[in-house]
């Protein structure tokens, strides 16, 4: 079994992922493959794990259970949308054997990109799945357990078994001293019957107009960004192996673009959440760039574009800075958020590079040219 698992993981990391992931286009991280005659096209990003930890910590500290619920909800939405966009095999459209084989393979994929070890047990009868996770993203570092990522797992499982009442509960936590994390995803009532207290979030979303999504996120030649994710891996700046990337010793996890949208949308109703997200991202990014030996604003272009955020450039106009961002990952919700996390990241990076605080509080977005462009300004 161990040998088989290793072979499967090797196959995923070395054959399957390189075949479906597009890493060599500056500004873009794309997953593309054909499933049942349908083109699956996903605009992805690499997100810094430590920033994610700090965002979760700040939200929970500020809003307590309401904050945790918002994080969980965002995660469930991301997981569900990602699964639907990926056209994953659902239980109702396959034999039990085929479905379980798919789940095995899928878990190995998740293990490749988000954990060092991951095992699972599926109980088809009760529509439940139990995960045993080692070094799963975020948890081992925040001491809070999985919040958004529990939601993410619940969203994926809800799609796979086609039951939106599925929720996820963490029952054991590596970040709080256990050897590994344990997470159960099952229909809410079953969790309650097992004396667990799940969140309740059943308003899930999918990308309705997939053709529009593909058109808005299609790969284009960037004007300013010249280095792709692959270029930075080849240069040795990014360390990448089997789905996991580290830069300066910090893990960056591969995730769907919808993360930055749903995180902000779910927190929107909480007071001052936009500032909280901005400030947290700002502090992280400023610390990060302050440590760099070569402080040039071209870092912003190289780093963010390689992570998949489009064509990014900082331009000084008079005494003030503007950041122009073409081909930012598009979702139809772009009109409903003000990109607080992203503005915080960019502002913090510029501040660390320039040695003075640059707060890009204003944003203009445009989709008139068939892609998402934005101008961030002081």
């Amino acid at each position: 079994m161990v040998i088989r698992d290793r072979l499967v993981k090797w196959y995923i990391q070395n054959i399957w992922m390189p075949k479906i992931d597009i890493f060599d286009k500056p500004g873009f991280i794309i997953t593309k493959f054909t499933e049942k005659g349908r083109t699956v096209y996903l605009r992805e990003i690499f997100f810094p794990e430590l920033l994610f930890v700090e965002l979760e910590n700040a939200v929970v500290k500020e809003y307590q259970n309401k904050g945790a619920k918002a994080l969980y909800s965002a995660g469930k939405k991301v997981g569900y949308l990602f699964s639907e966009m990926s056209a994953f095999l659902q239980l109702e459209s396959a034999t039990e054997k085929k479905f379980l084989e798919f789940v095995d393979l899928f878990i190995k994929y998740i293990e490749s990109i988000w954990a060092s070890k991951m095992q699972h047990e599926v109980d088809i009868k009760s529509k439940s799945i139990k995960f045993y996770l080692t070094d799963y993203i975020v948890c081992s570092k925040n001491g809070l357990g999985h919040i958004l990522t529990s939601g993410g797992a619940a969203g994926i499982w809800a799609y796979l078994i086609n039951d939106i009442s599925v929720e996820g509960v963490q029952t054991q936590c590596q970040g709080r001293g256990k050897k590994y994390c344990e997470l159960i995803c099952a229909p809410k009532q079953m969790l309650i019957n097992s004396k667990l207290t799940p969140f309740d979030m059943q308003k899930l979303e999918i990308v309705k107009d997939k053709q529009r999504y593909i058109e808005f996120n299609q790969i284009r030649n960037t004007e300013f960004a010249k280095k792709s994710f692959q270029d930075l891996v080849n240069s040795g700046l990014f360390k990448y192996a089997g789905g996991q990337m580290t830069y300066n010793g910090e893990r960056h996890f591969y995730c769907d673009t919808s993360l930055i949208y749903f995180l902000e949308l779910e927190l929107k109703s909480l007071p001052n959440s936009s500032n909280l997200l901005f400030n947290t991202a700002f502090d992280w990014a400023k610390r990060m760039t302050e440590k760099l030996s070569d402080k040039n604003t071209t870092f912003l272009t190289d780093y963010l574009s390689a992570l998949g955020f489009g064509d990014v450039v900082a331009i000084k106009k008079g005494q003030k800075y503007n950041v122009l961002n073409n081909y930012f990952p598009w979702m139809e919700q772009c009109e409903n958020i003000n990109f607080s996390i992203y503005r915080g990241i960019v502002s913090g990076m510029l501040s660390g590079l320039l040695g003075k605080n640059i707060l890009l509080k204003k944003i203009q977005i445009s989709t008139q040219t068939g892609h998402l462009s934005m101008v961030l300004s002081e």
């Binding site: 284009r220 010249k226 040039n296 450039v313 900082a314 331009i315 106009k317 008079g318």
Partner: protein
């Protein structure tokens, strides 16, 4: 940025020289690329005007505009090219793309006989009209650039690019030249901003990043 021991030639563009250690390396070739209307011709003319003010003999080869149009255009910046043409210090040479088959030999002759120190060629993109295939264009471009280097002149060449990330028309100029300056007109929201990027400059500690410039009464001025 500290100055170095390399002999430099000022560009005449306020703010640009400080981004490149005080100026272009004497005897070097630099490609200026950008879309239409980004300021390539003005930058070349400003470089030539600066040379004329320093008493240098200059050659401006235009493959797109006729000399009289160049003279009229730059007059709006207060640069009286015609008086220098009359004095024999400026050679304004128009090459008709449909009549000329070799620009290198006459160019070298002119440089030698008139002791030219600065050359501007605007624009190399038009060279595509001279030659029947891409290989021939690249060969001729290479020949041209080598001839400029051998002659020891400091040269600016322009190339028009489409603005989708390209930095040269024929994919070879940027590698052969010593320097590469990219001009862009960037639309940010409702306003357009002109930017300049020094992509490479041999033997020069360049100021990386995107710099903004303005078109003013006296030509181009780098703001930041």
């Amino acid at each position: 940025m500290p100055k170095d021991s390399v002999e430099r030639v000022t560009t005449g563009v306020p703010g640009l020289d400080k981004l490149i250690n005080g100026g272009l390396v004497r005897g070097s070739t630099t490609l200026v690329t950008g879309g239409a209307g980004t300021g390539k011709t003005i930058l070349c003319a400003q470089f030539i005007w600066d040379g004329l003010q320093k008493g240098e003999a200059c050659l401006f080869i235009t493959l797109e505009e006729r000399p009289k149009d160049i003279v009229a255009d730059v007059a709006s910046f207060g640069w009286d090219f015609q008086s220098y043409v009359n004095k024999g210090k400026l050679m304004l040479d128009y090459k008709d793309p449909f009549e000329v088959t070799d620009i290198v030999a006459p160019l070298v002759d002119l440089i030698r006989t008139r002791r030219v120190q600065r050359v501007a060629i605007d624009s190399t993109s038009t060279l595509g009209l001279y030659f029947s295939n891409a290989f021939e264009v690249r060969k001729q471009l290479f020949k041209l650039l080598m001839a400029l280097k051998d002659a020891g002149v400091t040269a600016l060449l322009t190339a028009e690019v489409s603005g989708d990330g390209q930095t040269s028309r024929f994919g070879v100029e940027e590698f052969i030249t010593d320097g590469l300056i990219v001009l862009r007109a960037v639309t940010m929201g409702k306003t357009a901003t002109n930017t300049l990027e020094i992509r490479k400059m041999r033997r020069t500690d360049i100021s990386a990043g995107i710099h903004t410039f303005e078109f003013g009464k006296s030509g181009i001025k780098v703001v930041d």
